[in-house]
Amino acid sequence: MNEEIKTSTSSPKDDAALIRAFQAGNKAVFDELVLKHKDKMFNLCYRFLGDYQDANDSAQETFIKVYRSLKKFRFESTFSTWLYRIAVNTCKNKLKSSEYRHRKKMVRLDNPGKSEGTTDSIEIRDKTQSPLVELEKKERLVLIQNAIDSLPPEKKAVVVLCDIEGLSYEEIAHITGYGLGTVKSKLARARLDLRKKLRRVI
């Protein structure tokens, strides 16, 4: 499962060629880079922020940052790692932003019975299941997302990058800037936290 994702995302040679073309002045290749990585980045942002619109804003912002600093890219890491790093930092900043906090507060006040994840979660299509099974699955997904949302940003970043994005410990260490041991321990604690939060469901 994770290996599949890994193979689909990693194409460093193609990325390097596109980046060189961009650095040579061919700005049009940026579109190719965006189209290639947009879904991966969007998913990361969505899982990190738990909100579709926030994810959209952060993913766009990530690529805008990339566009503005791609000329300075020195190939010290893979483009993918660099992209993830920018995305994670953008999402972390988004969580810190007063606008985000304010909006979350407003949502809670408007829907006191519901948690923030339920209001903005997208519709996930599943034509094969019966409505009841679909509803159960939806609820399950919402609860999982809520559990992820409740994690502190550092743990969240590690668990999302590892278990959702399927990245290796080394890659996560490069993206987050943590040591390998820190990544392992943070991942272990994050997983145990999720286990505690989802005990009733799983």
Binding site: V34, K38, R47
Partner: protein, 341 residues
């Protein structure tokens, strides 16, 4: 105690990254501990669940939106939008902009003001020609802009001239009258008498002033008592033609001797010369042909020293007026001769 440690290792055990020693430790514990075995199963489910979460795709217009956000960075409208929207966060920026605008407006107005003032001065010169204040303002303001300087100067001189001509300082010199009529009456004749004779008379006169302090001749004439002089003079005059004497005495209404007046006149002339002034005219009485006044131009700066010296000649009827316009270079003065009967 051991369970807690094992739980920490379960994550890596699932990922298969544990070293052989820890792996054996975990496996041995799991065989004995049911709770940790359940925990392992739950963690595996969670990891599977997380990995099987459906990937959320970016919206179709994702790339377009990025293009929109990249390009308008250089467009004014978008800059304003990013500055002012959303309002909740960037209100301080609005205040900053408002403050900057206010500063710009005020500084612009402030810079423009001096130009306006110069224009006003120029206008003032055109319209208020006679006002002295305008002259002073022009003198102050003119150097600021050289362009206007020649204009202001010509205007100023045009303004100044009529004022200077009209303004005449009048000083009245009080000359002491000797004994009425007869005393100095014969002197009137002296105008007709040739110069040597006049001198001889003057010497004779001086002789009569016995004991009088030596000073200017004017002083000497004023100083002695009239009685003594008249006595001596009477004798002299008797020797001369009486009818003529009577006639001139009648004519001489101010009761001043011509020689005395001439002397004063020449002294005043000298004074004017000494203060670098210029005699313009001397006014004579039609009947007596005696000088009544003298008019002259003197430098304003010497005015004070002039009237002080004049006071030494004879007392002034009134204290000399002070000159109000210090900027005036030349002043015209008229000294009238008045007898102090």
């Amino acid at each position: 105690m051991e369970c807690a440690k094992i739980k920490e290792l379960l994550s890596e055990y699932i990922d298969g990254t544990l070293d052989a020693q820890n792996k054996a430790l975990v496996e041995a514990h799991l065989l004995a501990c049911k709770n940790c075995k359940e925990e392992l199963a739950s963690l595996k489910v969670i990891i599977k669940e997380l990995g099987s979460l459906e990937s959320v795709e970016a919206p179709e217009d994702f790339l377009e939106k990025i293009h929109e956000r990249i390009k308008p960075r250089f467009k004014l409208g978008k800059i304003i939008q990013t500055l002012f929207f959303p309002l909740r966060i960037k209100i301080p920026l609005q205040f900053a902009t408002a403050t900057v605008m206010a500063i710009l407006i005020f500084s612009f107005l402030y810079i423009q003001q001096p130009e306006k003032q110069i224009v006003d001065i120029r206008d003032g010169l055109k319209h208020v020609k006679m006002a002295k204040k305008a002259k002073v303002d022009a003198a102050k303001g003119a150097p600021e802009k050289e362009d206007y300087k020649p204009q202001s100067i010509t205007k100023e001189t045009a303004v100044q001239q009529p004022i200077k001509e009209r303004k005449i300082i009048e000083l009245a010199l009080l000359l002491k009258t000797k004994a009425p009529n007869i005393t100095y009456a014969p002197d009137t004749e002296m105008e007709a008498i040739p110069a040597p004779k006049k001198k001889a008379r003057a010497i004779e006169e001086e002789k009569t002033y016995k004991g009088a302090p030596l000073g200017t001749s004017a002083d000497r004439r004023e100083a002695p008592d009239a009685k003594m002089k008249t006595g001596v003079l009477k004798e002299e005059k008797q020797a001369m033609a009486l009818p003529e004497r009577k006639m001139t005495a009648l004519k001489d209404e101010i009761g001043l001797s011509s020689s005395y007046l001439d002397d004063i006149l020449s002294r005043v002339k000298n004074l004017i010369d000494r203060v670098n002034g210029k005699v313009i005219s001397i006014e004579y009485d039609k009947h007596s042909e005696q000088p009544q006044s003298i008019t002259g131009d003197i430098p304003a700066k010497n005015y004070n020293s002039f009237w002080r010296k004049l006071k030494e000649l004879a007392p002034l009827q009134a204290p000399p007026p002070a000159i109000s316009e210090k900027d005036q270079k030349v002043i015209q003065i008229r000294i009238r001769f008045i007898s102090s009967k």
